[in-house]
Symmetry: C3
Subunit: 277 residues, 3 copies
């Protein structure tokens, strides 16, 4: 898998995929910047009158439920991207916290060919089980993946992937990624990721960037995105602590390290386990 | 009061309040990040179809007049938060610069139980007196609180608090906070705060974070927010000057210091005077 | 011209112009911060119910095609600003990538007195020739100005300026600015500008800031903005490389250097050629 990850990174640097992200206003700038950092090019167009034209020029699509006012635009772009077989990454931000979000998530899952669903534990559970433990955009502690509930969480992610046909990416202190055949378990990252806004949205955008350049390797692209994010977060936290900086510098340095990440840094720091069912 | 401030900081760190901010697109990312920095958790939902559900999950609410397109959402969230006795902090961004903003401010003050109004001198005067000296989002110089007009400004803030029943927080080079019984006068901060966007919006978000964790102590929470902002700005300016950095680094380091602020730093640097009427 | 540039910088610092920017959500915060960095004051109001009132308080206006949902607001503000003879800077973001954007650009050019059009090579060509090589917000490589196609590009910009009566600012690795009499050619800048979002939008906002303080010197203001951006980018890249930082730090340091730029730094680093026809 490490070899695959390196190939995906190299390929993205060569192809510089144009990534169409329909995402929320809170973290849209961070998402655009992380797509750039990963050698993609962002377009964040969300006017329903042009999204079909725009998405046709692109290589992949992000649908972020935080962009609720762009519901029509999301649906139109999703249908067009499905026709064109572009990888689509769905981020069910705060699904479960409101009926509107859960319903919008369901509609997009029904009407479009979603390649990857990337959410935290509460969000994925809300989609999978209709549970409503989501409180805002943070994973509820009772949902979070821990060493204690790890095997149950793996089973859930695996089964939800089988059920939907989507790659499921349930991220947090431990990241689980399953395509219904193989499940990747990633440790690492930084606790500081929960002290900034947008860590989840940025991971989604990063996943879409790698998927855009490697449309036949969406599972490996998802694993790559999680690995790059975790390793970059570790390097960023180290730098921030050395310089006695805080959370805003962590955000800046996180994107910095994504823009500079090398295969050597990935190989040295990745904490990845692959489970075959 | 210093003891109260320290208690408020500790309490916020333990409770990690969920803060619902309906705020403008310009500084929404900064606001979310400063809520995180202060150990709160942000949700910036502003779709009128879900804001009542969202605000019900939260501990406090920000209404920022810069979010004019979310007028209906603000009103719905405000009424729901009022029912639930959540502290509501109103930021009358650029009130007085347009009729629409002044009118929206008045509607929210009439229909919701506002706990704190946080604005610059021009904005507070526009609400209090219907004056229209506001030019954009900066305080007009003729309105600014100075040593010369300080006693008059204190009286104005005190009286406007009595009249509205709200805590009034009129901030600038000198910050005045009154609950109609006690008035706090804070000096300090940094001139660099006027060279970045969002210093005011962030202070509002910070106030709502502390109020969310300390709903019975909104006056003390407002004083805490002003103190944390001033001391963090001083530390940020010092760091920025040492490293020959500019305004964008100041913004980053301001949020950094909010995320790292200690009781010792507050005690050492706060310049606070308490006036009892 | 160097003397003019220094005068423009000094004048802006004294006048602190209020700049009304109707711009996209992706880079709105960066734009507001660069206006502040350049000693202007930003207001980003885009509600059609208030934009005429707001723009009347201001000194210049930005119309950024990325703000498609604010089409009515742009038109209203543009007409009012035209009446008041405020300099208007149009940024045709991604013109050519969708019919909607190209059409909106045309309407604004017809109905308002645009002083400056600032875009990348694909965007300017899309407006000038109706070409549709634009892909997203980046200039298409086949359009980019290079040493090879430089004389043809100069001719195009010159002629398009004559045809429209607007100052044309076609920026990229080489920046061309023409008012139909004189054409400025600027080299310099940093390749890292293409690894962040918002470099173009920020340059547009910077141009409007200098134009706002120097309304009779829009051509010189445009040259100043390009020069300040290029020199700041060079200084930022140097700092970032020294400190082993990445793209997000580059963005921060770019705005930093804009906020600190001195006449000496401009004189020492500017790479400017003036062509008279």
């Amino acid at each position: 898998m490490i070899k695959e990850i390196i190939k995906i990174l190299e390929n993205t640097k060569i192809k510089r995929p144009l990534v169409h992200s329909i995402t929320n206003n809170i973290t849209v700038n961070d998402c655009a910047n992380i797509i750039h950092a990963a050698f993609g090019a962002p377009t964040m167009a969300q006017d329903e009158r042009e999204v079909e034209q725009i998405t046709s020029l692109c290589s992949s699509l992000v649908l972020n439920l935080g962009a609720l006012k762009a519901q029509d635009a999301m649906l139109k772009a999703a249908i067009k991207a499905s026709e064109l077989n572009h990888p689509i990454v769905l981020d069910p931000v705060a699904a479960g916290a409101s009926t509107l979000r859960s319903d919008t998530g369901k509609i997009l899952l029904e009407d479009a060919k979603i390649s990857v669903i990337r959410g935290n534990a509460s969000e994925i559970r809300a989609l999978a089980k209709g549970s409503t433990t989501t409180k805002g955009v943070e994973a509820n502690q009772i949902d979070s993946t821990t060493e204690e509930n790890l095997s149950k969480a793996i089973e859930m992610v695996f089964n939800y992937s089988l059920q939907t046909g989507c790659i499921i990416m349930m991220t947090g202190a431990i990241d689980l990624i399953s395509d219904g055949k193989t499940t990747a378990v990633l440790h690492g990252g930084s606790e500081m990721m929960s002290r900034i806004t947008g860590a989840g949205c940025m991971l989604t955008a990063l996943t879409a960037t790698y998927c855009g350049a490697n449309p036949d390797k969406c599972f490996e692209s998802a694993v790559t995105a999680a690995a790059v994010m975790n390793v970059s977060a570790e390097l960023a936290e180290k730098r921030v602590r050395e310089l006695t900086e805080g959370t805003a510098s962590f955000r800046t340095r996180l994107i910095d390290f994504v823009s500079m990440i090398s295969s050597e840094q990935i190989i040295k720091n990745i904490k990845l386990e692959i489970l075959k069912k």
